[in-house]
Symmetry: C2
Subunit: 337 residues, 2 copies
């Protein structure tokens, strides 16, 4: 592995000159620069980023902390698409990405912030973290610049990007209400997720603005799980048969509801309308295809990385980015009979 020292020797100059020549400083004779460049190429030289980072105390690396980088995320491509966005943005901004896996066993031994400090990452993007994750707090306090995906937290070194979940839910609900539905239930996730709370807000808000009553017993918790949503939906629909539509906080749960309807012999969308959330790939392949609120997952990732790099370079005071989302009407919704 050739170093600047080798180049210096071969070109008959000092390492200082080599460094400056290669880094495009202006105070070096064009001739010597050319010579040095030629030698560098000849030696197939690559600068050692480690050494550079060490002396500059800038690693140009950002850490990616994904709490559930495992197969369970496979159905719902959220994680993957966000990662793609992050990757592209990081690449555009010339940052490298290092992947921290947070296998729970290891978390015991080594904390997030330790991991970050060891690897000298300049900042972190955290994804899939629940609001009650103890490690969230840790990173926040560690004063390492940090961008959260879908966790609403702001601070000097902390920002987040999310979509407008209240509005998203409202859109879904308005669609249902405009169709003529009056008895609309909600299949929510669990309460540790901020987004659940937001979507519930939207649900309530839409009902209120339409002058419709809000019933606690119309709201079930599906924990973002397909089977759980299925059993909950069966309960909901047998206990309150007057329900003609269900708004779900995720597509996966909507799939569960679809299944419940099938078990109960209620036809979709004629006898029950279902709206999902996320627009996962499966949504358009469901039968019938799912009406849903789409989030641009790729853009969420992209903006996260952009926000972080901007923060790192103190280019912005902004600490949050809220993206729009969009209602996609497919075949799972119709007017009530």
């Amino acid at each position: 592995m050739a170093t600047i020292k080798d180049i210096a020797k071969m070109a008959g100059v000092s390492v200082t000159t080599v460094s400056r020549a290669l880094n495009g400083y202006s105070d070096v004779n064009p001739k010597t620069r050319d010579r040095i460049k030629k030698v560098a190429e000849q030696l197939n030289y690559s600068p050692n980023a480690l050494a550079r980072s060490l002396v500059m105390s800038k690693s140009h690396t950002i850490g990616l902390l994904v709490s559930e980088l495992n197969r369970s995320g496979a159905k719902d491509m959220f994680t993957y698409e966000v990662m793609c966005g992050i990757n592209d943005a990081a690449s555009d901004e010339n940052y490298d990405l290092i992947l921290f896996s947070t296998n729970p066993v290891k978390q015991e031994q080594k904390s997030y912030s330790q991991l970050c400090r060891e690897r000298q990452v300049e900042g972190v993007i955290m994804q899939g973290i629940k609001t009650d994750d103890p490690y969230l707090e840790e990173v926040i306090e560690s004063n390492i610049p940090c961008v959260l995906v879908d966790v609403e937290l702001e601070g000097d070194n902390v920002g987040y990007v999310s979509t407008d979940n209240v509005f998203g839910a409202q859109m879904a609900m308005r669609h249902l209400i405009n169709l003529g539905h009056e008895n609309i239930a909600m299949m929510n996730g669990h309460n540790q997720a901020r987004v659940s709370q937001r979507r519930l807000e939207g649900y309530v808000k839409a009902l209120e603005e339409a002058g419709l009553p809000v019933y606690d017993h119309y709201v079930a918790e599906g924990d973002y799980l397909e089977p759980k949503a299925e059993t909950e939906a069966v309960k909901l629909l047998t206990d309150q048969p007057e329900i003609t539509a269900i708004f779900c906080a995720s597509d996966l749960m909507a799939l569960g509801v679809l299944r419940a309807a099938e078990r109960l012999g209620r036809k979709i969308p004629e006898e029950l309308s279902v709206v999902g959330y996320d627009d996962i790939v499966l949504a358009q392949y469901a039968h019938p295809p799912l009406t849903t609120v789409a989030q641009d997952k790729y853009q969420i990732g992209y903006e996260s990385a952009r926000l972080l790099t901007a923060m790192l370079q103190q280019k912005t005071k902004k600490r949050k980015v809220i993206l729009d989302n969009q209602l996609i009407v497919r075949g799972s919704t119709a007017p009530p009979k």
Copy 2:
């Protein structure tokens, strides 16, 4: 950020002692070690991995090169699940993962091997690389230890992991043949992919062992694209209406074939049997659910990382890992009428 120097000062010892105490060397007085450890904790010390890597010339990092880390991979979760496996294995072996994005524009400026050398990765895992990718050759020649996913290439510093594609195709075909099919077509991918060639081999082999004729015009190229497969399947089935079954080299293409059948009014599986390959998430949600050859993508990733780390530590002479795959019979296959 505390360094060993700070600790040394505060504990009243030399940096050497600190280094050895913290790294568990035996030749240090238990008392001083305790004292040092306490100080380290007090200072919230984390070793600087960069500096360590520099001096040890071991980065304990492996590079992940994914040729198409983008949204197009979203339907087929292959990339994601493989990554999960890689991540877990790397974590188990205490290696960090750095993500190289290979946006084609940047490839011009900086080659793979340059990227690797800059970041001082000890080895690389490459995924989604086509056999004719010029950069493949580059990495091979660069003598950086490398593990390829689904590209059959072996060498001193090069290994690969793949599944037994010939056998997988054979299983699919035998299933069809046992069902009584005699006119079986194949929807293949493109020929730059080694796996396509292998699966074709299996297709031919199975026909031959059953004493069935092999027709060139029974094989179409769907390029692993759903719409392309659809149009190709329409052609196939209108030109040769005697075909009663199609074996597809990917589930995505099988989905396209399903669509083609629908357009042609041929019922699945009564009037046409379809077998896919991969067992992507969508497969079980298709109508009817797809019979397919499943690969354990997670394990592919896991084994890749294991192989690489073993190579890095010269723990093995093995350079390839072939995983089994498994036929999953669902609703898209039946005996011919």
